[in-house]
């Protein structure tokens, strides 16, 4: 047994979290950055830099970066990564450390309107990140099946909101009403131009 008394570094913390095991494998080739679809719309989005910063122990910079909350785990980068670094898993591990350290997600997550929810569970079935579990909750003194959203796992894709037959689940700021209003505004604008 080797009991090392070295203080746990930030990189160790990330590697200890599920998914963060392969952090040190990254040799900074940039394939992930050049692959990432988020990069197309946000040039500052750079997963390679986050991994490098995590390896260097730049804890505050990493944990307060919006990047760690934006990865949608499409995993195209993972398929192309020559070192087999599962980047979305590393991001998940970093997010877990962030939550432990009291950082708040800087992105919208799914929210349930318990008054409307019928407990059908379709949202849990369709969630690509397995972020929704069904639990028993109490609504107006009655036990009811309710979905519970894991805020670490939810990436705010909105699949649940689009699926829900009772419009009982929505992504913050992306509720059906907001989107419909946006579409209306857009259509009016287009018509105005015509």
């Amino acid at each position: 047994m080797n009991h090392s008394h070295k203080p746990e570094t930030f990189a160790d913390q990330v590697r200890a979290a599920p998914g963060g095991e392969h952090l040190n494998r990254c040799f900074s080739c940039g394939t992930c950055v050049a692959t990432c679809p988020i990069q197309w719309s946000d040039e500052s989005y750079n997963p390679r830099r986050i991994i490098k910063m995590a390896m260097l122990g730049m804890k505050d910079e990493v944990l307060s970066s919006p990047t760690i909350w934006l990865c949608s785990a499409c995993d195209i980068c993972y398929r192309r990564c020559p070192q087999g670094v599962h980047i979305s898993d590393v991001m998940k591990a970093i997010r877990e450390v962030a939550i432990q350290e009291g950082y708040e997600p800087v992105r919208a997550i799914a929210q349930v309107n318990e008054q409307v929810c019928a407990g059908c569970g379709m949202c849990a079935t369709v969630c690509p990140y397995e972020a929704i579990t069904l639990t028993t909750g109490w609504v107006m003194g009655q036990p009811t099946t309710l979905p519970q959203v894991d805020r670490f796992l939810c990436l705010g894709c909105g699949t649940c909101a689009a699926t829900c037959p009772s419009s009982a689940i929505s992504v913050t700021d992306d509720s059906d009403e907001t989107i419909i209003a946006q579409i209306r505004e857009f259509v009016e604008e287009m018509e105005g131009q015509r």
Partner: protein, 629 residues
Amino acid sequence: MVDAARHPKVDVRTYTEVERVEGYVGNFKALLREKTRYVRADRCNGCGECAKVCPIEVPNRFEMNLAPRRAAYVAMSQSVPLVYTIDLDACIHCYKCVEACGKLEAIDFSMQDRLVWEDVGAIITATGFSHFDPSVIPEYGYGRYPNVVTAMEMERLNNSAGPTAGNLVRPSDGANPGRVAIINCVGSRDKRFNPWCSNFCCMYAIKNAVLIKQAHPDVDITIYYIDIRTPSKGYEEFYERARDMGIRFMQGRPSLITEDPDTRNLYVLSEDMTLGQVTEREYDMVMLNQAAVPQPDVDTMSSVLNVTQSPGGWFMEYHPKLRPMDSPTDGVFLAGACQGAKDIPASVAQGSAAASRAGRVLHAPEWEIEPVVASVWEDRCISAQGKKCGVCSRACPYSAIEYEVGKAAHVVVAKCHGCGGCVAECPHNAITQLHFTDAQILAQIRALLADKPETKILAFRCHWCSYGGADLAGVSHFEYSSNERGLRVMCSARMDADFIYEALRLGAGAVLYSGCHPQDCHYITGQRVGAARAERLLNAFEKMGMSPGRFRVEWISAAEGDKYARVINEMQAVLDALPREQLMAEIERLRPDMEKRARRMREVPQVKEALAFADRLKAAMTVTKTMAG
């Protein structure tokens, strides 16, 4: 090559395969298949008339299928010997070649493959390497986009003896490219395909870029790389020269190549590491610098030559630093990239070293081997009694044991390197190792544990690593418990379970089972044989309820003197923490079991005598002590 073919003592056999190799150092027999060319080598003068009249055209493999060749062909114009071959898979039997050959009558369609046995003293393996096929990387589009070419294709396109006579053209439209991208590490340093660095590709990319730039100074060349590795003499200077010439180096591994279907131009998407920005640049042509991979038939050759393989399939050397040209099989040597990707200077150096090694074998009237070898007691081997076993043969990393049911196992002494794996593995104790017999080791165990065994730490060390580690701890003055008693065997493979049982039966306080790290093992896979046994022992002792830490397994290299000292001190701490009454009770409780397990060992020839001698010695020592006291 021509000089070699003309040398009176060099016999060049081209178009010939080695099918089987038997025997051992200095006494090999090789079965060669001389494939038929359908052209008589003694009559063909290489005039090439047959190729001129041949109506069939097939892709030319030497030109990377960028040019045709006839069904009557030579592989390349510099072939030695210059003898034509009829490709029977393509031939339509029009016999125009026979007509063209005329009076020479060199073409003979009735020829057959010839199998010949040759006696050889030594074998040098120089089978080279092959190229990774980049079409399995979908994002680079090789095979879909005509202007994405491999390094070898670029080599032929830019070669004055190539199909375009050195006029660099791109495949889609034959136009001269103005912008060329070279992508490094295609299929190498990539865990999805080959984890290794292919060694020469950085220099190869730079060489190709310089060649293109020299012939066509206007071409804009960009080399995409992860790291540029220029470790040999003059290499860094060459890299500098390339930069001076205006060749652009871009750090960042491309993630995607896309094609404009109209112009057939290519867009390379990568992150420019220095800018931290994603860039997409347009090129007329892209060269993929593929990984070097072992030959496709490397597994067959490996079993024919009885040469083991390293991870990835390369032939394994005897020692990565000290004996890179020797294979673990005596008399078989390695030269060049068959042992691992390497460039020309390294291949030449290794080839020359292999030749001088082989020369040593050929010039020696007798060949000295280590005296530590395995030896079978034929009357004890159950295979001789018609029972199936073969444990020894499976444990041997050198295939030195010939095993056949009905006959006693036979050790080919010239092949045995003396790890002792077979000796320890044999379930019937029918094999011994000269200089490390069971009797000798058991007598040592007795002597080392003669006095207050419960306070002792008996350390089994392998000759090459953990013994060296203990030695280093000593010369470095790393203090460790003086209760340690070291016992040297050649390899952890020799550390027979019976030795451990005997030590515990005698009441040893703790036992250390130590050897090389698996990658350092001096006997290819000896450590693995030892490690598997150690694992079984750990499980068995845990089930018996032995205190944890009393039997410990550690892999310690000769450089890890500090680790050796630390392990021993930790084991001493385990013993110190165990109350003496509890330890004694545990030893007594386990003794009958150990007795039962170690009993078989006593039937081994010489053991009884050796132990009786050890006992007499102990008695004598006790008397001396009493007298002195």
